[in-house]
């Protein structure tokens, strides 16, 4: 065996890519060639040492920045209704958005006449109520103070929903209101993240339900239950942010 060939065999040997016959041939060469034997020892030690260097851990801010950027890229993905509430809204755009929202809402109503599924009707009610609230912003108790909003519901609905001001986590408490969904009066807690409105519909739970996410008409709905109360959050925010809100409540 040539020394040149031995080098390649040593390298492949380190990677576990030699068969038995090749190992024998290399062994025979190394026992008769001190230079190659030394080279083999050096390469083996070097291989171990490079492995021992290990990975370079990415700084924490790299991951944070990356997750932010991915979420942003995801939010900017096309064809999500409800983006009309972003930053600067000109009047013509707002008017167009209102028209679209109405069309969409009535379209959805028509579509729903053909379906009997209670869950679908419930979701439809919530989407409609959400869209209506965006058009009219009918917050009945406007306050960022938990101790103002929470007692306001007492006596008006049969549940006492969790109300938290999560401004430091990006979800500012905007207030609360009552709405009418699926034939019953429900409490709605309103949060804002920048220009996004999140309506959290709440009513008494008959059975516990695991978190369930759906998308309707571009809006994300996230439903879960806790302590005998069903929560259904709806917004044009992406689902990741809504999951985050859920984990905070």
């Amino acid at each position: 065996m040539q020394c040149e060939r031995a080098r390649e065999f040593v390298s492949r040997g380190l990677d576990g890519e030699l068969d038995e016959a090749e190992k024998d041939a290399l062994g025979a060469h190394l026992s008769g060639c001190p230079a190659c034997a030394e080279m083999a020892r050096d390469l083996a030690r070097m291989s171990r040492d490079v492995r021992a260097l290990g990975r370079e851990p990415a700084p924490v801010h790299v991951k944070t920045r990356l997750l932010d950027a991915i979420r942003k890229a995801d939010a900017e993905a096309p064809a999500v209704a409800g983006t009309w509430s972003s930053r600067q809204v000109s009047m013509p755009r707002l008017a167009a958005a209102v028209v679209i929202a109405c069309l969409v809402s009535s379209g959805l109503t028509l579509w729903l006449l053909n379906t009997r599924e209670a869950g679908a009707r419930l979701e439809h009610d919530i989407v409609t109520a959400h869209v209506r609230s965006l058009l009219e912003s009918p917050i009945q108790v406007a306050s960022a103070d938990t101790h103002t909003v929470k007692p306001w519901f007492a006596g008006r609905v049969d549940v006492s929903p969790v109300v938290k001001d999560l401004a430091s986590d990006g979800f500012a408490l905007a207030g609360g209101r009552l709405d009418y969904v699926d034939g019953k009066r429900v409490a709605v807690v309103v949060y804002r993240q920048r220009q996004h409105v999140i309506n959290v519909f709440t009513w008494a739970a008959t059975t516990a339900r695991p978190p369930h996410a759906t998308t309707r008409n571009g809006y994300n709905l996230l439903t879960w239950s806790a302590n005998g109360v069903v929560y259904c959050a709806i917004s044009d925010l992406n689902l990741g942010e809504m999951e985050r809100l859920r984990s905070l409540l």
Partner: protein, 190 residues
Amino acid sequence: MAKRTDFERIAVPHLDAAYTLAVWLLRSRADAEDVVQEAFLRAFRAFGNFRGGDVRPWLLAIVRNAAYRELGHRKKSAAVVSLDEILAQAGSEGGRSAKLVESLVDKAASAEAQMIRGVDEAILRRALAELPETFREVIVLREIEELSYRDIAQVIGAPEGTVMSRLSRARTELRDIMKRLIAKEEGHAM
């Protein structure tokens, strides 16, 4: 939506692997941060093309491409002083390679093994940084990432046979550089 959560679950855990490859290719942590960010965003947009299996080679190929683009920009804008040049000058000024010490193995076994071990890591990092990129990347992918020849072939876009011969040459070259650096170190010590 599902796409993003999938990406966060499947691809983002390989951030350290991506960062490591970028740091070694660019030899700059600041540049590696930018390149990794850019590469992951590209990967996210192209995530629909990922057909299952091990995501790492697919992802590292994108990181590698982004790193080479950055290296290309550097070469065009001579403004950035390349560490390549600095190291090359530092290496050639000595010319003491004839004054070779005993093999690396014997040195490690010596009484000052502990001390030499510390010096060795610095020398090893320096030697690895001096390797040409095409050699450096296969060493990182094989030794640190422990990728198979087939996966490395996917990352660098070359046949497996090329991976094999390039690894062999890279290791020989790395050993030569280390010998030279150790000899120089010895020279300074005396």
